[in-house]
């Protein structure tokens, strides 16, 4: 029981929220916000209580200290998303569906937790689908808006396609090894042509979730169309969870063919970083912009994965943790602007600093962290990723990554320039953000600052990562 405590707690609060929803009168649906956030905060805090780890159901499910840490990180991210969504949920259009938002989000989180903990491919697939399908509903949450509906449809179609290919790959793995359990697959997996095909199909399915080039095309449209809070969830939490399980499977199940998958990732990393950056440069819509920037960031994460060692695992988790805070910080500011004024174009940000200095500074900090400017957290995150790749002697890859960082600096600074330097005749007027938004942003700022300066965080992850590889 206790081994599965993260999932059970989440299921419990989902049920509680459902019950509250039933008893709430029609016009008082917003009363669910506070209990939802408090319960999530409680679950997040409870996740840090040490407890037993181990294997359940004959190896279908397993946890370790490291996996628990990953789940805790996801919990924190979801909590921030909850807090940031409040201003949007309170708008008239969403008022009726507030509880649905929380419940759907929680079910995807449960799916992710099962996915990370999975010990065989069946469990993994179940978790993956549970984590994906509700998101399509969420993307179409503003269903009367054409773009939102389109985003939902696109997401569900593309994820059906990718699931199909992934399943195809899994069936070939089962066909060639005769098992779906991770340790047994790991023991017998070779690099026969059929198995390479199986691996690549599996890889394509995961690459879809992480939005790696050329499997990323859905991302921009869905990110733009979906409500901005769902976008931030998709590009941060959902991506982070996929990165975690992807890394675990590569390091354990496919350890034998590491030489091959490292080459695959080498190619995809270069493609993803470069294409992500080239597209990001041209975007004028803040959501599309952040979508492509998050694609480019995914390319950087691959550098840590390719490190394939204790160091690699650590750097990936560390980077995702920082990435959650930085990206949610940027999204948080974009969200509040979008909710208060409906403006989503970067051109509208001209002169924003003059009217809303605190929000501009927060945005600047988040973007600096994403760009990797020392001494903010993002710099250390990237530095360690590059170090992990450099340790494998992949200097050319690191060089390309550094060049890409410079390009990314260009477009992150464009936004900062718009906010601080450009003048505008009609800047976005001053507005006061509500307490929830401020709380959410404060958590992000604290995260960005503390994780960058406090080395114990990194040391802690490093220690936990010892067993996985």
């Amino acid at each position: 029981m206790l081994i599965m405590r993260h999932e059970l707690l989440l299921i419990a609060i989902t049920v509680i929220l459902l019950l509250i929803e039933i008893f709430l009168p029609h016009d008082k649906k917003h009363k669910i916000i506070l209990p939802a956030i408090l319960l999530m905060a409680l679950v997040t805090a409870a996740g840090f209580i040490p407890g037993p780890t181990g294997v359940l159901f004959g190896g279908m499910y397993g946890t370790s200290a490291l996996i628990l840490l990953m789940k805790n990180i996801l919990n924190i991210g979801v909590l921030i998303v909850f807090i940031q969504s409040v201003s949007w949920l309170k708008l008239d259009d969403q008022k009726e569906k507030i509880s649905e938002f929380f419940i759907l989000l929680l079910s995807t989180l449960i799916g992710m937790d099962y996915m990370i903990s999975s010990g065989d491919f069946l469990m993994f697939y179940l978790g993956l689908e549970l984590a994906t399908i509700p998101i399509a509903t969420l993307a179409a949450f503003e269903r009367y808006k054409e773009k939102s509906a389109e985003a939902g449809v696109k997401l569900i179609f593309m994820s059906a396609l990718s699931s199909g290919i992934l399943l195809y790959g899994l069936s070939m793995i089962y066909g060639t090894t005769g098992t779906v359990y991770f340790p047994e697959v790991a023991a017998t997996f070779q690099s026969t042509p059929l198995q390479i095909l199986a691996f690549i199909f599996f890889f394509a399915g995961m690459a879809f979730k992480i939005s790696l080039v050329p499997f990323h095309l859905w991302a921009a449209d869905v990110y733009e169309g979906a409500p901005i809070n769902v976008t931030s969830y998709l590009s941060v939490i959902s991506k982070g969870a996929a990165v975690f399980i992807f890394t675990i499977i590569l390091y354990t199940v496919f350890a034998k063919i590491a030489l091959m998958w490292r080459d695959v990732i080498y190619v995809i990393a270069i493609l993803t970083m470069t294409m992500g950056n080239l597209f990001a440069m041209r975007q004028r819509n803040i959501k599309r912009f952040l979508a492509f920037s998050s694609i480019a960031q995914a390319g950087f994460i691959l550098l840590g994965i390719i490190g394939q060692s204790q160091l690699g695992m650590t750097t990936v988790i560390y980077f995702v943790l920082i990435y959650i805070f930085s990206n949610l910080g940027a999204f948080g500011v974009a969200t509040i602007i979008s909710n208060k004024t409906g403006k989503e174009s970067i051109d509208d940000y001209d002169g924003f600093y003059r009217t809303n200095p605190m929000l501009s500074l927060t945005m600047m900090l988040a973007l600096f962290s994403l760009a990797g400017i020392p001494p903010i957290a993002g710099f250390f995150g990237k530095f360690f990723l590059f170090a992990a790749a450099a340790k494998q002697g992949l200097y050319i890859l690191v060089l390309i990554a550094v060049l890409n960082t410079i390009v990314s600096l260009y477009y992150y600074l464009l936004i900062i320039k718009a906010m601080f330097l450009n003048r505008s005749d009609q800047p976005i007027g001053y507005f006061k953000s509500d307490g929830y938004t401020r709380l959410g942003l404060a958590i992000c700022i604290a995260g960005i600052l503390i994780i960058g300066f406090a080395s114990p965080v990194y040391e802690f992850i490093l220690k936990l990562s010892y067993g996985i590889y």
Partner: protein, 638 residues
């Protein structure tokens, strides 16, 4: 046991955050009071630490050891190479804690009155806290990298404070000059650090300065231009120290730095930051002594020359803060000189002890002189001694405390300056007769220019003031009185039983063969000044005229500034910067513009991929997967 010492450093840091970010929510006076009480807490902790260290736990056997009070690995680059942040306690760092927190507290208290009504009152106090934090972090550094980090922080906060009156062009120019000159020196420091750590494989002071440790016994490294790597690295490190401590020829920023508010001059440019260079050499002293004696000779020569050079200039200046600035440079030169002649081990290390002792007493009387000068400037609204005279009746407290400080710095017994300067002269005497005589000349000059200052301000001709000068408020005179007590009594501390080069206490005594001539030349200098300046006479004018060119050169500070300007403006700008700028504009910018043009073009061309059509996405997805699979099957199996 000493974990709490980390709070000595952290309290000013939190003050900086608190005053800097939230100070504007309160009345200005609040930030002053908060800053001052915070510093008081820091000072109280320092005194407690000193008590614990010197009287309770510091001694193991017969020796004051080095204790790591607190340590944390901050940036772990590899297993061996990591940068730590921590607190290292040994006699010199504990002594510096006392000096810095005491002077900083006095300056905070004094500034409550001095800065009253200034725009930027709150900014001033937040910067003072930032400076105190950086300086404290510097002296407790456990490794040379931490020292470097705080060293730069000190530079930045000094820059901010010198340029406090940022609407005044001269202040802006002075702050830039200070920053650039010290930054240039820090480049040497950084090169030195890299050479040293490359050679020894560690940043850690404990390992570096252990006389039996690896660094000293086998770390001399390869030879380059006749000197070992170790010597070169120590010379470079000393370059950083010379920059901060305003040693010739990197001293040019110090007189200009007087543009800052006077309390800042007292804190930064008299008692704390400028002695960072001395502290640096003292911290690395075993390496200097055992592995790089040539570098130690450099320290001695630079110190001695700067000392006499600055003393001569000080005799000719009229701006009272500038006289004090050159006097500071001269006294720091003496400290460097004492380190340079010192040996290692109990009595052998007399110079080391003398240097630290003088640093300690100098902090009191020099801070006092600056703060008193601030009170005078506050009263007559001028920096020039020509505008002053006969002030003793108007400013009685300032007068008495200023006189005490002058007597102390002139080395008149039994004031503090006498004891510490006597030890320095004794150390010089042990080395050679020549150096002793040099020391005597500097002492005579010191007494002369200090009393020249004293008599022209408080005696001399009676001036007609626009409105009668009045004594400063209590909040300003109390620090003066407290510091005056320090300037009187600090000398009675038996310093050699606490601070020595190797931690072994020894008993020092006063050598009359040294003390008597020293006192005599001091009195002689003071009497000469009295003759010249107590009543209005034309003797100074006659003398300066008879000295002719030499006087003019000294008055113009030996044209060092002009030489710098000539080198930078005429030679560097024309023959180095111009070609580099051309290369930058045409070649570097050109290729960068080319790259960005190509990048932009490519990103326009590929936008077709993102058409928004699902069929196309699916097509790219599937063909991508199959293409990858085929490529890797081909590469790996055929």
């Amino acid at each position: 046991m000493f974990t709490y010492t980390v709070w000595i450093v952290l309290i000013p840091f939190f003050l900086f955050i608190l005053i800097g970010f939230f100070g504007h929510k309160f009345k200005p006076l609040v930030s002053g009071v908060v800053g001052t009480s915070g510093l008081f807490a820091s000072m109280a902790l320092s005194y407690y630490t000193a008590y614990q260290y010197f009287f309770v736990v510091g001694k193991t056997g017969d020796v004051f050891g080095k204790i790591i009070g607190y340590n944390t690995v901050w940036l772990k680059l590899t297993e061996k190479l990591h940068i730590d942040l921590g607190v290292l306690l040994d006699p010199i760092s504990v002594m510096m804690l006392i000096v810095i927190t005491t002077v900083s507290f006095m300056v905070h208290l004094y500034s409550i009155g001095y800065m009253q009504g200034e725009k930027g009152y709150m900014r001033f106090f937040s910067m003072l806290s930032l400076f105190s934090f950086s300086m404290l972090g510097l002296v407790v550094a456990t490794n040379i990298f931490q020292m470097y980090i705080f060293w730069e922080l000190v530079g930045v906060s000094s820059y901010l404070l010198i340029g406090f009156y940022y609407t005044r062009d001269t202040a802006v120019a002075a702050s830039k000059k200070a920053f650039i000159v010290t930054r240039f020196a820090d480049l040497g420091f950084l090169i030195g650090i890299l050479l040293l750590s490359f050679n020894t494989g560690t940043f850690d002071f404990l390992t570096l300065t252990d006389p039996n440790g690896v660094a000293i016994t086998q770390g001399s490294g390869i030879m380059f231009l006749g000197l070992s790597t170790m010597t070169w690295s120590m010379i470079f490190i000393f370059m950083g120290g010379a920059g901060k401590s305003a040693m010739f020829p990197l001293h040019i920023w110090l007189p200009d730095a007087m543009e800052g508010p006077t309390p800042v001059s007292a804190l930064i440019h008299a008692a704390t930051m400028v002695v960072a260079g001395v502290y640096l050499v003292a911290r690395m002293f075993p390496i200097f002594h055992f592995s790089a004696p040539v570098a130690l000779d450099v320290v001695m020569c630079v110190g001695a020359f700067s000392s006499i050079f600055a003393a001569v200039i000080a005799c000719t200046q009229y701006d009272i803060k500038r006289v004090l600035a050159y006097s500071t440079m001269s006294q720091i030169g003496l400290m460097m000189f004492a380190l340079g002649v010192s040996g290692y081990g109990a009595e052998e290390g007399l110079g080391f002890m003398a240097s630290m002792f003088h640093l300690f007493t100098h902090a009191f009387f020099k801070a006092l002189l600056f703060l008193a000068a601030g009170a005078i400037i506050h009263a007559v609204h001028s920096n020039y001694m020509n505008d002053m005279g006969g002030l003793r009746k108007h400013l009685p407290i300032t007068h008495i405390t200023f006189l005490i400080a002058c007597l102390s710095i002139a080395g008149i017994p039994p004031l503090a300056g006498f004891f510490s300067k006597d030890e320095i002269l004794a150390a010089g005497h042990e080395k050679s007769m020549m150096l002793f005589i040099l020391g005597l000349i500097i002492s005579a000059l010191t007494a002369f220019y200090m009393f020249r200052l004293y008599f022209s301000i408080f005696w001399g001709k009676q001036q007609q003031y626009h409105h009668t000068p009045h004594e400063a408020p209590k909040v300003m005179t109390i620090p003066l009185i407290l510091l005056a007590l320090g300037a009187v009594f600090a000398g009675f501390i038996p310093f050699s039983s606490f601070v020595t080069s190797d931690g072994k206490p020894f008993a020092s005594h006063i050598d009359f063969a040294v003390a008597i001539p020293a006192v005599l030349v001091g009195v002689l200098g003071a009497l000469t000044a009295m003759m010249f300046y107590m009543k209005e006479t034309n003797i100074p004018e006659t003398i300066s005229r008879s000295l002719g060119g030499f006087y003019r050169a000294a008055f113009r500070k030996f044209y060092i500034d002009e030489i710098y300007l000539f080198i930078t403006k005429k030679i560097l700008f024309n023959y180095v910067s111009r070609p580099v700028a051309w290369f930058d504009r045409h070649i570097v910018d050109g290729s960068m513009n080319g790259i960005s043009y190509v990048t932009n073009e490519v990103s326009t061309r590929i936008k077709g991929m993102q058409s928004g059509q699902l069929q196309q996405y699916a097509w790219i997805f599937v063909s991508g997967a199959i293409g990858l699979a085929l490529a890797f099957i081909y590469l790996w199996t055929l």
